[in-house]
Amino acid sequence: MSVARSWRHQVQRYNLIGTSCNSCGKYFYPPRTMCPGCRRDGEIVSYKFKGTGEIVTYTVIHTAAEGFEHQTPYVLGIVKLDEGPSLTSQIIVDPTDIYMGMRVRPVFRKLGDSGEKGIICYGTKFVPE
């Protein structure tokens, strides 16, 4: 991934900064620049999420995506943040301990890198609360 591309959403990934719509009160993470409900009548503003949420569903990945091979088995889950929106993240937990509905909180971790010489991408993952 190019430097600009990983840098562009760095702050959002570091601090779970998404958006919310002042017109309808909905929250968006990953951030959206147009409210799907209000569309052009929406008023999107930046919003920093509290970060806590719960596991909606999850899987334990044994055959990894490229660049994640050294982490297998790793847990990937959909986390529903307390403000409403859901996101996909690695969950740092023993694969035998995770369950649907588990409360989680954010931690700061390495998401990946562009090889040994490339830029390191940091961001948010989740651990049991």
Binding site: I61, T63, G77, T88
Partner: protein
């Protein structure tokens, strides 16, 4: 709008075709379909080709022009040729574009094709290319794979509806049984539930035998206005319904993780256009990229109530001879899944069935068939209803 008919079809063999290139297989499919229909190059008004990722799989874009060129339709003919992309739904979408071109009166004879050459890269690179059908920035970057996304659907489905790993396995068993009777299928070996459950875990709860393979293959159909279809064939197959729908790119944004709303809406639109209901469908090819995907598909189209797809499979109702035969071709699971070609291959299978030329896989008295093609984890769905009767 004009009614549209399929007057010729062809699918290449599906599998790992080490000796054959991207252009070899698409030319074989295109020429085969033209031969099947009896049309000549002079007749072709336009071409639409479904291809997900020539750029990543064979480092080739500008697929439309390439295919026109190597089909001998550039020099002298200069046939307009368009590449269509919607991840794994690219083939279904190419057909829909072709139908529009004929129905609108823009063109008479149109080729709708699909192709993917996936084995020229490592399986890791192929997985990365496929993962581009999901949300690269907010799913892929987190380490999501395609099996992982469907595994999360499966986990939720099992949790909410009591669907079991055995029921998922039965989808694979049934599709391998069908695929064993399909001469073009990648895997023509019957398997058992134990084969699936004892195979390695890819993304819990999905085993490797819950997943469709990496495949090379191409397929093509020739479309014509229904009014002149009989000039080319004694058994035109009519397009009765065509529906397409979109949903959120990322799985986490869906209204309901276990429902592919794109399938719900695409099917509804196709049924509305055809003036039909699920009861009118004699057989269906659904997008079983993973076993759970077939269960969701038969529920979301309406063959089973939500949560009952596993049970319907377990009861044998989706087998040939059952209430609604699903994936007589072997599906993506056994027949193979060259992503851009799959949507066309499904329609070729339905055409063979409706023409009564499906051999051992023949569904008796098949009059109306359906093809259901999905892109990504359900961000695009395309549904077509075909029938013998206009």
């Amino acid at each position: 709008m004009r009614d549209v008919a399929i007057i010729g079809v062809k699918t290449t063999r599906f599998g790992e075709m080490w000796g054959r290139s991207f252009r070899d297989i698409i030319v074989e499919a295109g020429v085969g379909a033209l031969e099947d229909s009896g049309v000549s190059g002079d007749d072709i008004g336009s071409m639409f080709v479904g291809n997900m990722s020539g750029g990543q799989f064979v480092e080739q874009e500008h697929i439309g022009a390439l295919i026109a060129d190597y089909s001998g339709l550039s020099e002298g003919f200069h046939v307009p040729s368009t590449r269509v992309e919607a991840a794994c739904a690219s083939g279904g979408l190419a057909l829909r574009q072709g139908i529009s071109a004929v129905a609108s009166g823009q063109d008479d004879i149109v080729v709708a094709a699909g192709v993917e050459k996936m084995t020229d890269v490592s399986s890791g690179s192929a997985s990365t290319a496929l993962a581009a059908a999901a949300d690269r920035e907010w799913e892929g970057m987190m380490g999501a794979t395609f099996p992982a996304l469907y595994a999360m659907i499966a986990r939720m489905h099992m949790h909410r509806y009591g669907t079991t790993s055995e029921q998922l396995a039965q989808v694979a068993v049934k599709n391998h049984h069908n695929g064993a009777m399909n001469p073009i299928a990648q895997y023509r070996t019957p398997i058992t539930v134990e084969t699936v459950l004892n195979s390695i875990m890819v993304a819990d709860p999905l085993h490797i035998f819950d997943c469709s393979p990496i495949t090379d293959g191409a397929a093509a159909v020739i479309l014509a206005p229904a009014d002149i279809a009989h000039e080319y064939t004694d058994t035109p197959i009519y397009i009765r319904g065509s529906g397409q729908a979109s949903d959120t790119l990322a799985l986490h944004d869906r209204r309901d993780i276990t429902t592919l709303d794109a399938t719900v809406f695409a099917a509804r639109r196709a049924f509305d256009m055809a003036g039909m209901t699920v009861d009118d469908i004699d057989l269906v090819e659904v997008h079983d990229c993973f076993t759970i995907a077939e269960i969701c598909a038969i529920e979301d189209i309406g063959f089973a109530a939500k949560g009952e797809g596993g049970k319907l499979t377990e009861e044998g109702e989706t087998a040939i001879g059952g209430k609604i035969p699903v994936n007589t071709s072997g599906g993506l699971k056994s027949c193979g899944h060259p992503v851009g070609a799959t949507g066309i291959k499904q329609v070729v299978e339905i055409t063979h069935q409706l023409r009564g030329e499906a051999g051992k896989r023949q569904v008796d008295g098949a009059e109306v068939g359906m093809a259901h093609n999905v892109g990504g984890s359900g961000a695009t769905a395309v549904v077509h209803i075909l029938s013998r009767e206009r």
